[in-house]
Assembly symmetry: C2
Homo-oligomer: 371 residues x 2
């Protein structure tokens, strides 16, 4: 008999087909779509250079628009929006403050004094902004904005000392960066958008399924005979492990998702924090399953005959638990309320009592049988 | 009696004092040092603009040097080096290919045809480079290099169509970026460097200690009486949790550490993969401890009298395990070989046998006593 692969539920990517979710498409396809979008945005923004009427308007500063598209256009729409907002605010603040400092320097001190004045401000603002940027809470959401602030402030202050028309310079760059931002954001959001919200939603839902497979896999592995073990399928522990190590990925996605506008079933103030909390709970469960796996693989096990005695109730618990997890995952995926709480626990409760009977009996009979 | 805080080993930061490691300094201090370094680098690079003799040499292109410093200068020396190498290679490749395409366009087609030629290359190379950039293996180490390649290639191709001296343009920018890189790398590596290697080394060593505290905390919490529980200190589970969720941080640090040159006790081809594997093993242990905590907090517990029976051997196991973990952590921190394996296991083995006796006895006597 060929070994039965632990999950009859199939791979996560197959399950998603059932839900008809966009996250079903393969990574390669999504990567290709994103690449073509970037290519289109680059060509569109290059027209500022390539078409004479446009070039006459913006001139050499078109460089800033191209730079903005290359740097801001990220895979997820939320990441692009977040970087875009950061870049806009960083540029406006840095440019504004830079102009003030440059004009002040011009008015108060002149000549060499002006250079010292500019250097002092570059030093002080550089230190302050870098320090703020490293504070974890700021770093998480505004790191890029702080960097752009430092860059713009520095460029305007030092070049303002040379260029007489510092305000015109700042305004022109701001306009070009605005054009670049507009092209990035529109291409990112309007054509085949990759929503981080969808990805996070799918990622949490698939965790339920991975854990369900893990529960089934643990029990199956425990009860198959030694000769079958050699051929057994090992897919499950990797699923459990991927859930265990998913925290930072979830947090990154939630961070992007917060920037995303209303779309699909996701509102503007969608409770992404709750997603993170569900992820935490599922990771706790994954930790328990990982250590259960360790216990079941330890050499101190009841004899084969006792194992067979526990087999039926344990398998019932396992499949009931896996079913519950799968059901929760599906409801979560479809954003539906779960069935009344009572249903699932009563089923599990009955099996738990049955199991308590079996284990107390086997303990009394066979505690000497522990190897 | 005031509640005894679970770890008499103290906070990780205190333990590090004992080792005299540089990671002992507080995050705020390190942030401040880094900020001052960035400020100095910014002033140094701004001199290209502010000092007449230098400005006459580099001109407006000094902008690229400033930009390079702002973007490349990261907290860890390894991150700065990695970004610097990426930026250098991306600029050289993108600039080289861009020059070839611009010159080809000039030679083969002219006028409007040239614009279409340039746009086609921008589109094709943009798509290809973006696709490659998203492949996880490339993304991990060369994401920034690929982005700089796209940016430089694009700028050279489209501005090369306007500027007659495309090669001079490319060479000048390359020199300026080189100056920016040199300033960043020297400031980052030579003055109070923050090594990602040290941080990773410390992070792994402190995991041993966190887990040791967690073991002690679990047992202590289990055996204190209910009234004491209200005042108990909860520091330990957070330590265990931080170990559980440390994978992506460890991987990032290892990634930076690979770029760092020989320093301290770390050679050039230092086995950072082994650090990651030790981290994985410690995370497995953390998962087991997390679920042990769950078991101990469940309502199905033996009665108080039975608990007291197990108290002494369990506490011995716990403190022996915690001692072993602490010892391993210290040896690891000091990069010393551990004592012969036999010592620790034999001590644990003896306690394990004692414990088996107690638990089998209590099972036989008291299995009805389970609540």
């Amino acid at each position: 008999m060929p070994p039965q692969c632990a999950s009859h539920r199939g791979q996560p990517s197959m399950q998603v087909d059932r839900f008809g979710n966009r996250s079903q498409s393969k990574p390669e396809v999504r990567r290709a779509i994103h690449s073509v979008k970037v290519g289109v945005a680059l060509v569109v923004i290059s027209l500022l250079y390539l078409l004479d009427p446009l070039y006459n308007q913006v001139g050499e500063n078109a460089m800033w628009a191209i730079m903005t598209v290359v740097v801001v256009f990220e895979f997820f729409a939320g990441a692009t929006l977040g970087k875009g907002v950061n870049r806009a605010i960083g540029t406006i603040l840095g440019g504004g403050l830079g102009c003030i400092v440059a004009l002040l320097g011009d008015a108060l001190v002149g000549g060499v004094g002006n250079a010292i004045f500019a250097a002092t401000f570059v030093f002080v603002f550089g230190i302050a902004a870098t320090y703020v940027r490293l504070i974890p809470r700021i770093k998480r959401r505004y790191d890029y904005g702080a960097m752009i602030f430092i860059l713009t402030f520095n460029l305007i202050v030092v070049s303002g000392w040379r260029a007489d028309e510092v305000i015109r310079l700042a305004r022109e760059r701001l306009v070009d960066i605005g054009i670049g931002l507009a092209v990035s954001v529109f291409t990112s959001v309007l054509a085949f958008p990759m929503w981080a919200s969808d990805e996070l939603h799918f990622s949490i839902a698939s965790k339920f399924d991975k854990l369900a497979s893990c529960v089934e896999g643990c029990l199956e592995e425990y009860f198959i005979s030694v000769e079958e073990k050699e051929n057994r399928c090992k897919a499950n522990s990797s699923g459990c492990e991927s859930v265990l190590n998913s925290k930072s990925n979830d947090e990154t996605l939630a961070n992007f998702a917060r920037w995303e506008p209303w779309h699909g079933k996701f509102g503007i103030f969608y409770p992404w924090d709750k997603y993170l909390r569900i992820g935490d709970v599922l990771r706790e469960l994954a930790a328990t399953l990982a250590s259960l796996k360790g216990c079941l693989q330890s050499p101190r096990q009841p004899m084969q005959s006792q194992r067979q005695l526990m087999k039926q109730p344990l398998e019932e618990v396992g499949s009931s638990l896996a079913w519950t997890l799968g059901e929760l995952g599906q409801r979560f995926m479809k954003m539906e309320k779960s069935q009344p709480k009572a249903l699932i626990p009563s089923k599990l409760q009955a099996i738990k009592e049955e199991l308590t009977l079996v284990t107390s009996a086997s303990k009394l009979e066979g505690s000497e049988g522990l190897a």
